[in-house]
């Protein structure tokens, strides 16, 4: 039996162009639709696979932000057992501040810890001052392994052998005692799909616990001076025209280099 805690983070959906707010230091909320961070999708999937293999439970935790209920009920519909949202935390863009608040919540709210494994995505597209996994591991004084793509748990010895990705397809394996924090790069299978009808059913049958974050937020140890959008038109020569015209131009480029 394994009790697994999965930390879920919502990030802007990059299918929509993020715009910078008039203060120049944050994103314009009107330009942003929040979705579950892609790596966290994999962390959740890995947790569900481990539960199927060993039994136990999957508890999901997220900060209370817009769209969080959709994300949490979707995870419940996929097979998570309990969902918590932590309210009253506005960490701005600081992962350090969010991690501090999460650590206080996990250690003070009954029912969240102990967990055998704490899984989270290895990184998120808005990590400004660090990834949540190692920071939380440090604050909870637990071992951490990141860029994880496979987890084999031995419940008897209370250890796990985890596989970490390096460059060029090389992997390394590490043995960690439980409990441990793991930053997941990819689950062993693609994240499962859940039909909307099942999510609606979860919304009726299951509930999301809401808990206020204990303690005061510390202030971030960095100051955002300015956000900018990098000039992307700087380099590429843009090819214009109907598909056939573009295709002809591409073929000319290849032919000029002896590639066609």
């Amino acid at each position: 039996m394994l009790n697994i805690l999965v930390l879920l983070k919502l990030v802007p959906d990059l299918l929509e162009e993020p715009e910078i707010a008039p203060d120049g230091r944050s994103l314009d909320p009107a330009s942003v639709r929040l979705i579950l961070s892609e790596r966290d999708e994999h962390a959740l999937e890995e947790a569900l696979l481990l539960k199927e293999r060993h039994g136990g439970s999957v508890t999901i935790v997220a900060l209370d932000v817009p769209e969080v209920d959709d994300v949490l009920f979707t995870a419940l519909a996929k097979g998570a057992d309990r969902a918590w949202k932590i309210s009253g935390v506005e960490p701005g863009m600081s992962t350090m501040v969010a991690a501090g608040s999460l650590a206080r919540t996990l250690t003070s709210v009954p029912g969240l810890l102990p967990a055998d494994l704490i899984l989270t995505g290895v990184q998120a597209i808005d990590d400004l001052d660090g990834q949540i996994g190692p920071i939380l591991a440090q604050l909870l004084e637990l071992p951490y392994v990141g860029i994880v793509c496979r987890v084999e748990v031995s419940p008897d010895t209370r250890t796990a052998v985890v596989v970490r990705e390096y460059a060029g397809g090389v992997t390394g394996s590490f043995e960690v005692p439980l409990p441990a924090v793991l930053g997941v790069q990819s689950a062993e299978k693609p994240p499962r799909y859940v039909p909307v009808a099942k999510v609606r059913a979860a919304m009726k049958a299951q509930r999301v616990e809401k808990v206020p974050a204990p303690g005061e937020l510390e202030s971030a140890r960095l100051e955002i001076l300015q956000l900018t959008k990098p000039e992307t038109a700087g380099r590429a020569v843009m090819l214009e025209g109907a598909p056939e015209e573009v295709a002809a131009q591409v073929c000319d480029l290849l032919a000029a280099r002896g590639l066609l």
Binding site: Q123, F174, R221, A236, M238
Partner: protein
């Protein structure tokens, strides 16, 4: 000395990684602007053969300990946490790769220091250190100033060319003793080489690469048809591999392969930094993406701001026609 710029030397499988020299080149610039010295920090089981290539630094702090034989981020952070408080550098630059990614966050959380992730540049103006870091898959950059210090900064590959940072000279060394557990909690078992793939994409002249924009697994066939017509191979970015649409031997990027083909056709790839790092040295990069503001267009030589499903079929037809004409 207090106020120096430190650069962590990244070593993996017995060799100093190229990104270390890039970060040394950046560190040299920042140290000059700060009027400070540049120290390389070498952690490992022995002094190592790395020293003679670290001449860009004014000196090397060497912490030798049996537990540092493999780059375990937990132990790296513990070792650095013992070196920093007493010596008080201005900043510690850490190459941000799959080997060292979490060293900075672990260290900063341990000592209560500011940390900045994914930096592509560091500057000092009016005595203030400013980091420029990449967010949202390269769609936004943030200029941030650490409060207090020493500042711990994760530096992305490619921040500077490596040549100025690779100087053949053995700098003066300072041995530092660190106290590390004899039985670390995380135990390294070993490395595994990737299974041999059906093709070695690092040896192909023509690569047709697909990203999230390919939308469905069955659509990869379109890229395969184009690659077939061009006499090349198909590869992809992370999301495509994660979905199981291509095998991991076809992955381009920091955790996959670094490729340098004659031509790299990027179909529906947004151009996240970890992908760009794997293909930016291709001789010719042509990107097709429906989002005209996709970061891939800042690395591509030629771009098409259109739906790949409109362009690629026309391109296949054209390539086949040219080939047929040449054959007849």
């Amino acid at each position: 000395m207090a106020g120096d710029i430190w650069v962590l030397v990244e070593q993996w499988r017995g060799r100093v990684s190229d990104v270390t020299y890039e970060v040394l080149a950046l560190g040299r610039e920042v140290a000059a602007a700060a009027g400070a010295g540049l120290q390389a920090v070498l952690l490992g089981s022995g002094a190592g053969e790395a020293l003679p290539s670290l001449g860009a630094a004014d000196g090397v702090l060497v912490a030798a300990h049996a537990a540092l034989a493999e780059p375990d981020p937990n132990l790296y952070a513990q070792a650095l946490a013992q070196m920093i408080p007493q010596r008080q550098p201005r900043a510690l630059f850490i190459p941000q790769t799959n080997v060292t990614m979490e060293v900075g966050p672990l260290l900063a959380a341990r000592l209560g220091l500011p940390f900045v992730n994914s930096c592509r540049d560091i500057s000092i103006a009016d005595g203030r250190l400013t980091a420029r870091c990449v967010l949202y898959g390269g769609k936004v950059e943030a200029a941030v100033a650490p409060r207090g210090g020493p500042a711990v900064l994760g530096i992305l590959p490619g921040a500077r060319p490596q040549e100025p940072g690779r100087v053949e000279r053995t700098p003066p060394t300072t041995a530092v003793s660190v106290d590390l557990p004899a039985e670390p909690r995380v135990r390294f078992h070993g490395y595994t080489e990737p299974p041999p793939g059906d093709v070695d994409i690092t040896r192909e002249n023509v690569l047709v690469s697909v990203g999230r924009g390919i939308q469905r697994g069955e659509n990869v066939a379109l890229a395969e048809e184009l690659a077939g017509a061009l006499g090349g191979a198909v590869c992809g970015s992370r999301p495509v591999i994660d979905q199981g649409w291509l095998s991991s031997s076809r992955q381009v990027g920091t955790s996959g392969m670094i490729v340098k083909p004659q031509v790299y056709l990027a179909l529906g790839i947004s151009g996240a930094p970890e992908h760009v790092e794997g293909m930016k040295h291709a001789a010719l990069i042509i990107a097709i993406n429906s989002d005209p503001r996709a970061p891939i267009f800042s690395v591509a030589h030629y771009g098409v701001g259109a739906d790949l499903f409109d362009i690629v079929p026309a391109l296949i037809e054209r390539v086949k026609a040219v080939r047929q004409k040449a054959a007849s």
